[in-house]
Amino acid sequence: MDIVAILALVQKGLSVAEAIYEAGKDAAPAIVAIKDLVTGAQNGTVTDEQMAQTEALLDGMIADFNTSID
């Protein structure tokens, strides 16, 4: 991934994080994900531990969204 694509990703990701802050929700997961996306794109390597952390976080966030809304 070239630097322009990485910067575009960061810019758009941060705008999401900003909106999340405005909604009063913790933006940390999104920020960590942005960092990991960029780091992963640069390094091309991921450890099993990092994968496990990503998987657990994503599973939790999907479960959160999937709860019924009344």
Binding site: K12, P29, A41
Partner: protein, 132 residues
């Protein structure tokens, strides 16, 4: 081309909410094409993209629950949940296939995940949740 980066932007406009009137801009999912193996790194990139997407969706749901945006947001969320609720078992399968090196099934499940994403993105667009 060994890797293909598909950019799947998701932007959610939270109309009617003063503090959320601007767009939840572009969530990008980094994915790989079907013509190349899906590596652990590819899957991790994809899942990180999904984390960003769901951070936005959960923020939208939060303001919806608080009642700061029109009540129709609940129907929009329910419509998207039809597809997002299919994600967990597919993610479990994709992870297992990638880690075991079963590329044929990994790519099949991967395509299904992308199709689901496209479907709830389309529903969002037709319910005045701006998608670009």
């Amino acid at each position: 081309m060994k890797k293909l980066l598909l950019v799947l932007p998701l932007a959610l406009t939270l109309g009617g909410c003063p503090s959320m009137s601007e767009t939840l801009n572009a969530v990008q999912l980094a994915t790989v094409g079907v013509a190349s193996p899906i590596t652990k790194q590819d899957l991790n990139n994809f899942e990180n993209g999904m984390i960003i997407a769901f951070a936005g969706l959960n923020a939208y749901k939060r303001v919806c629950v608080k009642g700061t945006i029109p009540d129709s947001c609940k129907d929009t969320i329910r419509s998207m949940q039809v597809y997002t609720r299919q994600l967990p078992p597919l993610l479990t399968q994709a992870r297992a296939f990638v880690k075991s090196g079963d590329q044929i099934n990994a790519q099949r499940v991967y395509n299904t995940l992308l199709d689901l994403y496209d479907r709830f993105k389309t529903i969002a667009a037709t319910n005045n949740v701006k998608v670009s």
